[in-house]
Symmetry: C3
Subunit: 253 residues, 3 copies
């Protein structure tokens, strides 16, 4: 498989360079996110105070912004970090968790995307459709539709922002205005473990930290997720053991 080759070289580079990845993410997943980034070889740092996000973004190789448990002070910090990343030409990956579920989420996501043009956006199908303002039927933070349904929305979004948009689901789509790649590896149990999407976003962060081709880097990240998911599924008896085995698998591949 071509994808296999791509993700292996990206992973090798992450492990050699151990890039610092700055995460402004949600309370639910912080521990998993940090462990996933360590397991692939990156060096995670979590920092959200407006007093320091510019300093931290400056020393980092990529910025991950995830609005899972957003509030005004955190959004202010996200804006400062993203602005600084834009100034320094550092890549940003944005995760619009639950966009569409509340007016506040939708307004925040649209504002962040329009003002700071993230290099990559990753969401489930419902989120990508809500962000592209094509549909607004998000139910909480879980997708209500298959990822193929959102493909057109992802293409529109990518065209408008001139960036990479990733729809994750049973099939992942990595989309730019010009091309679409699919990743079909992974396990259905991933939908039963909280924060797997957030983990994907942070691994995209590690990949764009070492590869300026953000479409290729995002493809590598989703392939890493899928490969680790396949390995973990075989060893697991449920979502609890899957969550643990997935981190082991990220470390082993």
């Amino acid at each position: 498989m071509l994808e296999n080759d791509i993700y292996k070289s990206t992973l090798k580079e992450i492990r050699e360079k151990s890039p610092l990845v700055h995460n402004i993410t949600n309370y639910v997943v912080m521990n998993n996110t940090a462990n996933a980034l360590l397991a692939v070889g990156a060096s995670p740092v979590m920092a959200h105070a407006t007093e320091e996000v510019e300093d931290i973004a400056t020393i980092s190789s990529a910025v991950v912004v995830n609005m899972g448990t957003l509030s005004p002070k955190w959004v202010e910090a996200m804006e400062m970090a993203m602005k600084k990343a834009n100034e320094l030409n550092k890549p940003i990956v944005f995760d619009p968790v639950g966009v569409g579920a509340s007016t506040y989420r939708t307004d925040t996501a649209l504002k962040l995307v329009e003002r700071y043009r993230p290099s990559v956006i990753r969401g489930n199908a419902s989120e990508i459709m809500a962000l592209a303002q094509i549909s607004n039927d998000t139910k909480g933070v879980d997708s209500t539709v298959g990822s193929d349904i959102a493909l057109h929305a992802a293409q529109e979004l990518s065209k408008k922002l001139n960036n990479t948009v990733v729809i994750s689901g049973a099939t992942d789509y990595i989309v730019t205005n010009e091309k679409v790649e699919k990743v079909t590896s992974g396990s259905p149990i991933m939908a039963k473990v909280t924060g797997m999407g957030c983990t994907a976003t942070s691994i995209i962060g590690a990949c764009i930290a070492v590869d300026a081709d953000h479409h290729k880097a995002s493809l590598s990240a989703m392939e890493i997720m899928g490969q680790a998911g396949n390995i973990a599924e075989k060893k697991s008896e449920g979502p609890g053991s899957f969550q643990m085995n997935f981190i082991d698998a990220l470390h082993q591949i």
Copy 2:
């Protein structure tokens, strides 16, 4: 066992309806809570910003309020979500973590309970006694007495609030003004894993989301906890593996 039948039908209904459960909970347990809700078949959403809690409560089938790591801004959000739930006649479960350990906790818990009359309250024996203002000797967040000691306090509380009160411990009591049910399943190691009480509260949230009989729903929830605890105990070598196996067990039963 009668209880077995009750929890199985509740669980079946949760898995069919996949109710959205809105959690305003503490930082320590958010990941476990989300995974436990996913494992029983519910769809968890964590949201605490005053800018969106009314929107999220509106689209949810139940609201879980847990004051484990409370602060003023979060308490304000709890009040807004509970008020909205009251207006829309949506059930609320309240977890008065550590009530009695500080004046702030006690004042907040009494205020929330009196103003918004949660459908169900779940705490350990010390917490239920502190909330009923019968005793105030809470030591941090762990109970200092057996759950039977708090039975009278739970009955007084339930009478005053006309709701269901759950005391969890080696024996769980599910109490209304008129009846008391016991659950004795579960494992002693549950007291050695942080947030098992918080998990019980959120599973009560999933059960009251699908069953308007809150006493029966709470009984189902505690039986689900106990059954999963029994299964997990057999596979575990300590509290670390128990925490993981418990999520697997919730998914399997």
Copy 3:
């Protein structure tokens, strides 16, 4: 080994007294920290609201302050808890996570250390050097140098503050102005699991809660970490299973 005897008696005392340990710590590690404290026999409480930290510090036997995900309101709470602990003569352990990575972190760490003189400070080599203002090349939250490099910095810091300074790494150093002890047990995989340093800090908190000899208590804590690390390593296939097995091991030793 002498160290073995020391840690066993400390552990016995923690399990007999079950001391309440007040943690003001970061979002990433709260769950692990609470579980680690429960596993060694202590009773953890997490509380950060300025409205209650004095009450909670008052009923606790030790205060753990970890600035991993600091922000102004939390720093205000740290100051209040540390001040109260000073007044009541309760021991404090301080973890200067990522000091040196931003001006805000450095300023905060120096302020907390100078004003409230923690009984014990634990950091990795980069952090101890940044805190002693000898070097400032911290890269995020992971150390860039071996722990022996920071030994002189730790001695200077301990001399100035008349306290115990712990450098954790492949070899841990437990340092006072007069003596240095080493702990070499543990596993290299600990560097691949987020928050193992934070866990060490909280276990120091449990040990100083029962032993007024803070150098000895810190030595016990690091030996407990090392012993549990050795046990967990044998059972683990990666950092995911290590994190779980480590909690089991803390419970078993």
